[in-house]
Structures are given as C-alpha cells and as structure tokens.
C-alpha cells in the first residue's frame, strides 16, 4: 500500500471551479510529501465547454492522466458530465457526485461549492488536515482564505459522516 498512487478525476463545465478544486487537492498532497501530477486543459474550456482535471499522487507518479477505469474517486460538479466521466472510475472506485446536491444545500455562497466538495473528498484521502489548510492558504492567497477553510471543514464533516 505504501507505493499506492491515488487517482482522482474532477469534472464539470467552465466556471464551476473545477480547476481550483483540483489545485487545492494537489497542493495538499505536495505539502503532505507526495509526488503529485495534475493534468488539465485550458484554452477553449473556459468558454463553457467540458472541464476535466486529473490529480494523481503517491510515492512516484508517471502518467499525468488517470486511465479509463483507473480513478479511486470521481468528483463531478455537473450532472450532465457525470455519465461520460464515470468511465474513469475503478470498479471499486467511489463516485462523490451524489454530494454535489447535498453540498449545494449546505453552503450559503454557491461559489464555495468546489471547496466544500474538496472537503468531502479530503475525508477519504491519507492527507492530514494541516496540509489541507496550508493548501487553501496557498491557492486562495489573500482572498477568502478563512471563508474557504470554514466551507472546507463543513465539507470534511459531511464526508466523514
């Protein structure tokens, strides 16, 4: 298990904060001492197209892309994207898409949905809370760090229950 590579597929459409979510996850893994690879495609995606980001971390990661049937977790922010992306999940992989609605109801500011869902995911990953906090500080810099930490912890609680 020590050499296990964790693979997470994030998906949604432009403007939903998919890339930010995968960014938080990647920094947290880096702070926790893992080798991380995060793949994304920019450019036309921001014009409302499909957005997809893959995060893989472990002792040593080769492919930046999660192979079909290779994701431990799927976090999809948009229902229409879910059927396409579910092909990435392992047979025993966990689809966290069901939390999107739950998280949406729990938070006040809809812009925090991505952070909340990362919180849900965090409950299932071998990365300590302090590294997640540091990742949020790094990704949000001076804009909304405290608010996002709070939203993250709410999500983390949701994921633990």
């Amino acid at each position: 298990m020590k050499d296990k590579v964790y693979s997470i597929t994030f998906g949604g459409i432009g403007g939903q904060g998919v890339l930010k979510a995968s960014e938080i996850c990647s920094w947290a893994a880096l702070f926790a001492g893992y080798h991380v690879k995060k793949s994304e495609v920019h450019g036309m995606a921001q014009r409302g197209g499909s957005v997809e980001s893959h995060v893989r971390f472990g002792k040593r990661v080769y492919s930046p892309l999660v192979p079909t049937g290779g994701a431990d977790f799927l976090l999809c922010f948009h229902r229409e994207e879910q059927p396409r992306l579910s092909a990435f999940l392992k047979k025993d992989g966990v689809d966290l898409t069901e939390y999107v609605e739950k998280a949406g109801q729990a938070i006040e500011n809809p812009r925090g949905l991505n952070t909340c869902l990362v919180g849900v995911l965090s409950a299932r990953l071998p990365i300590q809370q302090e590294h997640w906090m540091k990742a949020i500080e790094t990704v949000f810099k001076n804009k909304g760090v405290e608010e996002n930490k709070k939203i993250f912890l709410d999500g983390r609680k949701m994921g633990q229950s």
């Binding site: 495609v41 492919s63 930046p64 892309l65 192979p67 092909a87």
Partner: protein, 515 residues
Amino acid sequence: MAKKSALNQALLSGDEALARGAYEAGLSVACAYPGTPSTEILETLAGFPEIDAQWSVNEKVAFEVALGAATAGARSLFACKHVGLNVAMDPLMTASYTGVLAGFVVVVCDDPGMHSSQNEQDTRWVSLYSKMPMLEPSSPAEAREFVKEAFAMSERFDTPVILRMTTRIAHTKENVTIGERQVPERPAFERNAAKYVMVPGHAYQRHILVEQRLVKLKTLAERTRLNRVEKGDGKIGFITSGVSYQYLKENYPDASYLKLGMSYPFCDDKIRAFAKSVKKLVVVEELDPFIEDHVKSLGVKVVAKDPSFRIGELTPELIPALVAGKAKQEQKVAKRKPRLCPECPHWASFAALKKIDAYVAGDIGCYTLACLPPMSALHSCLCMGAGVTFHEGWRKGAPGKCIVGVVGDSTFVHSGITGLINAAYNRTKGVIIILDNSTTAMTGGQQHPATGLTIRNEPTKKLVLEDLCRACGADNVDVVDPKNMVEFRTILEKRVHEDALSVVISRHPCKLLRR
C-alpha cells in the same frame, strides 16, 4: 514566492517550470505572441522583474527580437505554439546559419489532439529541416532542467536550441524544485558580418559550419544523459520520448527503455546497442513516426505503430493496443462544446451578418466559435490573418456574392494589416469587420498594441486601429458598438452595398477583461 521557496518545491505547470528554469539560467530577454498551450511561459516570465519580457506583435517579430538580443550577448528565449512557429519559420531557418552569441532557446508547444488548435503538426520535423538540436522533456520537472541544458548547448555549439513540449506537459502540474538564479557573464557584442550578414558568400561558409555542427551534436547525443537507458527484463524494449514515456512506465514497469530527451540529432550507436539488448523493440511516440522512420533507416527491426495512432493524442489506456501493433479503437464520447459567453459582444456582430446572409471569411479567436450551430455564421478559419485575405480571394473566386471578412483586434495586429494593405493596393472592394473586444480573449485576455498596455499592464504607446486602417487604404472606417444592434446593422448594410473598401470596427470590450 517566499513561502514556496522556503519549502524549495512548488506545484508548477510545464510552462511555469520551463519559465522558472530559464529564469534560473540567467535569461534576460523573452518574447512571444500568446497561443495555447504556450501562453503561460511568457506570463510567468513577466513576473520576474530581472527579465525583459514582451508580448510581440506576432511570432516572426518575437523570434527576431529574441534572436537579436541573443546575438548581441543576452540569453534569450522565444516561445510559441506549433502553428506560431510557422509564422517564425523565415527567421528560424537562417538563424540556424547565423548561430548565436549568448544562448537562444526556441520553445514550441505542440498540441496533439488539438485541444485548442487548427492542426496537429509535429514540430520534431523542424529540427531535422533546420538542422538544429531539439530537446523534449517528459514532465514539468524535466522542462525546468532541460531549458538550462538548452542554454548551455546553444552557447557551446553556436546554435539556437529547440525545446519541444506538448499540451499534456505544458498543462500538467507537478512538484518542481526551485533553484537560485545564476547569470552568466555577458559575452562582448561585436560586429561580425561573416556570421550575421547572410549574403550568399557568407551563408555558404556558415552552411559548412552547420553541417560540421550537426556531426558534433550527434556525438553529444550519444553521450548526453538526456538520452537515458533504463535496463529492464529485456523481453520488451521501448524507444520513446515526451509524455509517451510516462504512459509506458504506467503500463510496463519492468520493460527496458531508451528515453530520448534529445530528439534530434539521433544517437544511432545507442539505438543500435539498445535494440540488441532486447527481444522485441517498439517505438512509442505521439503523432508522426519521427523516431520510427529513423530507427528503420538504421536497419533495426522495430514494431511500428498502426498509422491510426498518428492522429490525436495518446492516453494511457491506448498504449497496449499501440504496442500490440493494432489499430486505434476510437472511444468517441461527446464532450460539451465550448461556445461564446452569453454576454459576448460577438453574438450581436454575427446576428447582423446572419441577417444579410453573408459568406463570412473568418479568422482565429473566440469568434471562430460562431461557426457552430445555431449561429453557423462563420465559414472559414485557416490561419492568423486569413479572414482579411480570404475575403479578397473569395470575392475574386465568387464574384457577386455577399462576402464579408471578420478578424479579431489582436489577430488583425498579428497578421491582418498586410492583408488589408494588399486589398487596398489591388483595388479590392468589400467589408472587413474588426471584432474589437480590446484583448486577446481566446488565450485568456493578453494585452496587445491596440490595448495600449504592456505584458505587465503598464501604459505604453497605443495603436489606434481606425487611423491604421485609413493609412492602409480603407475608403471608409466606422467604429460601432455591436450592442447598439440597429445602428450596427444599418452601417453594415450600407457598407456592403457600396463600391468601396470599408472597415467596420465592431468595438465592445470582452466581459472577461481584467476580472
């Protein structure tokens, strides 16, 4: 950056890591025109105050300014996407002859799978064609290391060095170690006509040196640690480069590898020796059979990939079929297509064009998306600037049709101006619409001469498009806000029926501007 350097590691994309490595190598001048997936290289470099970074008008200009700086003694870098390199091919081919004084690195980002491009040309052929060395990193961490090697190689062998990335490396992030900046001593700038004045007599002598250089570079290719052998169980061996290496390692951890970090010139002896050390030899590379053709030319037996794999990007799950010599099984799943933002000013411009049922010669930018249904109001997209020149060509080829050319503001400055001068000079009539959203929107909103701001958002001399168009020879120049739909349509309808060359500047700023 303070927090990150304390840790000595940062999560950087291939573009950012390459920029970081160039900064550490003492880079002083960097030029580019934006183009996905290469844009972030210059954006990152502009964050270092020690570096003279610029958005250039186009890639040819960028290449020449950067090469000029290198031949005057400053370590310089030019960055572009694959199709951008086409624009810079004229100076590039002769730069191989002139060589450099200080290091000069040409960074090209290819886009296999065309995530955001009009073709998927394989830039590795350019190294063969121009007789210049090429390095090919497989990850962001390697991009940082390789660019340092490239500067050293450029100075040692008196040549520009091409560093080729692909979208999957440019836009992958990974842990990258951060180092200190070390600026080498600047060589003295001197007049040297035999080296820098490429008249036939001088160029002949330089060509002799280019061929000698290639021989020396071949010797280097045999020795360099960039071409690495990883010994496996010997049953199967892979010759590979770029991101393909990563996908292979994922699928065949016990195989033998010859990983080519220097893709040109080839290390023939190493290739032959490696081939002998394995039972079965397979070349795995994205796009064209660049390595494969060369390995075959050495008389080495190799499993070639099916031609279907020359098209599109590789992914980890495609590898087993490729290695088995089978054809690619397309797994086409419909993705949500990009479209113009709901509040985009281009909608109004194209609605007016639709109303007059125009044949619209298009160009490259967000507005190319107007070709998609339900709008379906843009009917060509070839390359930068062709909205203006296709307009002229279509009018010659199909007289009597209602033909309008459209081009974005940044694209017009990049390579539409010459087309407009050509139209005026050759007595072309008709209407060119400059879709002026006052930014380079498609690549994420970069400045250009007509915005009046530099890459660092500092005020500078502003190019006034309406004055420029008049100077080029346009009979009429109107500036209209397309959101005033009635006014816009009235002017457009009037101009298309006139026997004159008209430019309509459809001006309304992009909503994504300076968020």
